[in-house]
Every structure is written in C-alpha cells, then in structure tokens.
C-alpha cells in the first residue's frame, strides 16, 4: 500500500515538473521571432550568432575591398549572401516580408537601402547576342576574341 502511495507521489512530482517545463517552453515561444528560411548549403560563412551581430560590418568591409581594390572573393560578398539566402517562393532576399533580409529587418525595425542599387535575386551573367551586320564576313566568335586583344 505504501509502495503504491510512493509511486503516485513520484508520478505527481514528475507531472508537475513536466508542466513547469511546458510553461517555460510556452514563454519562449511567446517571443515572436521572425521565421526565416534556411539558406542553401550546410552553414553560413561564419557562425550564425556572429553573423546576426556583425554581418553589416563584414559587408561594409568587403564592399570597400571590392570597389576600391577589385578584390572579388566570394566569402563575405553581398552577391554570395543573395545566392544562398534567396527565398524559395520569391527567388529574392527582399521581395516579400518573409524573405531572409526583409523578415529580420522588419522585426528589428532597421531600414535597408542595399536593395536600392543591388540586385535582390541571384542572376546569371548577361548573355550577349551577337548583332549581325548584313554582308559582313563575320569570323567565328572564338577566333575573333583570340585575335582581337589580349
């Protein structure tokens, strides 16, 4: 009989602890964090926590390196960010409120002006259609390129 009472008491204790844990979990879920799509690939170029605080510094440093020194390494480049983080629905990082950049920036209420100039979608290099001039003996493109310049 006593053993049954002990068992019941243990169960009650376990139940109370489970209830507290749920309450704690509920509190965390109450903070309405922005829902972000995971980027392509296994992980970001740096630790996620580091990127949350410092992505703007990395981007600013890299933009000056690219602009003034012509260093176009893919790591820390805005183009690299867009290629990984473009949303599946819109194909963009800032077309809708759910897209990677705009979701967090709307949450933090920080205005973004990157996309006034930069493309929000990953893009292919432009394809140049070769204009044809009537009657011109046009060399094939490859030999023309080789002969024209370095």
């Amino acid at each position: 009989m006593a053993s049954i009472l002990d068992r019941l008491r243990t169960l009650a204790l376990a139940g109370a602890m489970a209830g507290m844990a749920m309450a704690a979990g509920g509190l965390q879920a109450g903070v309405d964090l922005p829902k972000l799509e995971r980027g392509k690939g296994d992980k970001c170029v740096e630790e996620t926590q580091f990127m949350r605080r410092n992505h703007m510094e990395l981007l600013k440093h890299h933009r000056d390196e690219t602009m003034h020194k012509g260093i176009r390494t893919p790591k820390h480049s805005l183009k690299g960010c867009v290629e990984c983080h473009a949303g599946a629905k819109t194909g963009s990082v800032a077309a809708s409120k759910e897209d990677f950049c705009s979701a967090c920036h709307a949450y933090a209420s920080v205005k973004l002006d990157c996309w006034d100039c930069h493309a929000t979608k990953p893009g292919k290099r432009p394809i140049h259609s070769i204009p044809s001039t009537a009657g011109a003996a046009m060399p094939p493109m490859d030999s023309g390129m080789a002969g024209g310049h370095r």
Binding site: C117, A119, P126, H128, P131, T133, G148, H149
Partner: protein
C-alpha cells in the same frame, strides 16, 4: 647647441636607415620579380590581391573600322550593365556613337565615346565626398556608397561621359549595382576586367567582325595596344587639357 650636437648623430641614423631600406628594397625586388614576370605572361591576378598601378587599362579605337550603321558596342554595354538603352537628356548612356563630318572635305568618321578614363580625371578633382575615384589600374569609377548625387563631376567632365539616375531602378545585373540618386559612367566593365575579360563593347565589336576597338594594358610593352600606340599615330580627344586619357583614337 644641443640640437647642433644632435645633427651629426641623426644624419648618421638617416644614412643607416637609407642603406637598410636600399638593401631591403633590393631583396624585395628579387623576391617580387618572379611574381611580376608571371603576371606579365598570364595577365591574371589572384582574386584576393588588390589591383596595382603596374597595370594601366586603356582602349584604342580605330575610327576607320567603325561602321556608320553599327551599334553593337552600345547594345552590348546596355545588356552588360542593365541600362535601359534610352537616349533622352535624363537617361543613362555609358557609351555613345558619335558621328563627325568635316564640312570642307565631307570626310565622315564614326566613333564610340565611353568614359575616357583620364590619368588626371577632372571628375575626381571636383568630387566633394571622394566618391569619384581612380582605381590603381587607371579605371575611373564612382563609389555609390559615398556619392551624394551633387553632379559636380558631370559638369567637370569634358567628354559628357557621366549620367545621373533620376528614377528608382529594378532588375539590375548582380555585378553592376545601379540606383537612383547617384552619378554613374562607363567602368570599362570592371567586373569583367577583374575576371581577365575585355569590356562588353570591345567583345561585341570584335565578335561583329569590325575589330575597331582594342583593349589592354598600356604599361605592358608587349601588349597589342601598347605596340599599336607605339607604331601608329593616335589621338587623344581634347589633348589640350592634358588629362592623358586612357582611351585613344586612330584616324581622326
């Protein structure tokens, strides 16, 4: 008095330092030389290395080969840089086809006019924020992050090479950011040059069979453009301004 006493001492220091620098410079020269030689042959730069002033990019345009009815360079520029291709007074034009005629003789010439990428660019002189700058390899650019859109550079440029973006833009080329409120101009397709390619206009002109445009390193005596400039009479437009332009013309 004590200062006078110190002078011989500091001169001696200076001399020592100078000798040390000379020696280290010589050593650096030796170690750098193979790298420089390799650069000269392969024409490529490691992607994490900054551009250097050992290179100066330039263009030679042969007006006798430039056809009157051809617009290939302009079209290619528009495609590469995602320009709208309109030619109104407020539209961006990075390269223009210009026709000139000698009224006395009737001789006509046609030529493309991009940014002339001056050695002493007036646009850089007048820029109040430092947004307009010349890269070490001679390419003149606008840093849109710093540009405030005052348009002094547009007034200063003798070649009318720069445009101002008046309206918000979309659908930019990821490698060519453009937007409202900034001045812009021909970049020699810097994103392509950094990949060891030639500007889009030059590629189009060559692919179209005209071969009127030649692009290369003016500082490399072995480059085609340097040989052409050495062997033939070429012209700088507004040479009187002594800007030492990177774009040279033949046949005008």
């Amino acid at each position: 008095m004590s200062e006078q006493m110190n002078h011989p001492q500091s001169d001696q220091d200076q001399a020592d330092r100078r000798n040390f620098l000379k020696a280290s410079a010589a050593a650096a020269g030796l170690t750098v030389a193979p790298g420089v030689l390799l650069y000269g042959i392969a024409h490529s730069r490691p992607e994490d290395q900054a551009v250097s002033d050992k290179v100066r990019w330039g263009m030679l345009i042969d007006t006798t080969k430039c056809a009157a009815d051809c617009n290939a360079c302009v079209t290619a520029c528009n495609t590469e840089n995602a320009l709208e291709g309109r030619t109104g007074p407020q539209d961006s034009q990075w390269i223009r086809k210009v026709s000139i005629k000698n009224l006395q003789t009737g001789a006509e010439h046609h030529l493309p006019m991009p940014c002339q990428h001056c050695e002493h660019p007036p646009c850089v002189d007048v820029c109040p924020t430092g947004a307009s700058f010349k890269r070490a390899d001679g390419i003149v650019l606008v840093d849109r992050h710093i540009c405030i859109g005052c348009r002094y550079c547009m007034m200063a440029c003798p070649y009318k090479a720069r445009s101002f973006v008046h309206e918000p833009l979309t659908e930019q080329n990821p490698e060519v950011p453009r937007g409202k409120g900034c001045v812009e101009s021909c970049t020699f397709c810097v994103q392509r040059v950094d990949r060891d390619e030639t500007p889009a206009c030059v590629e189009a002109c060559t692919a179209d069979g005209h071969m009127a445009m030649l692009f290369g390193d003016l500082n490399d005596p072995e480059s085609e453009i340097a040989k052409a400039l050495k062997g033939q009479r070429t012209t700088e437009i507004r040479a009187d301004l002594r800007l030492n332009t990177g774009v040279r013309y033949q046949g005008i």
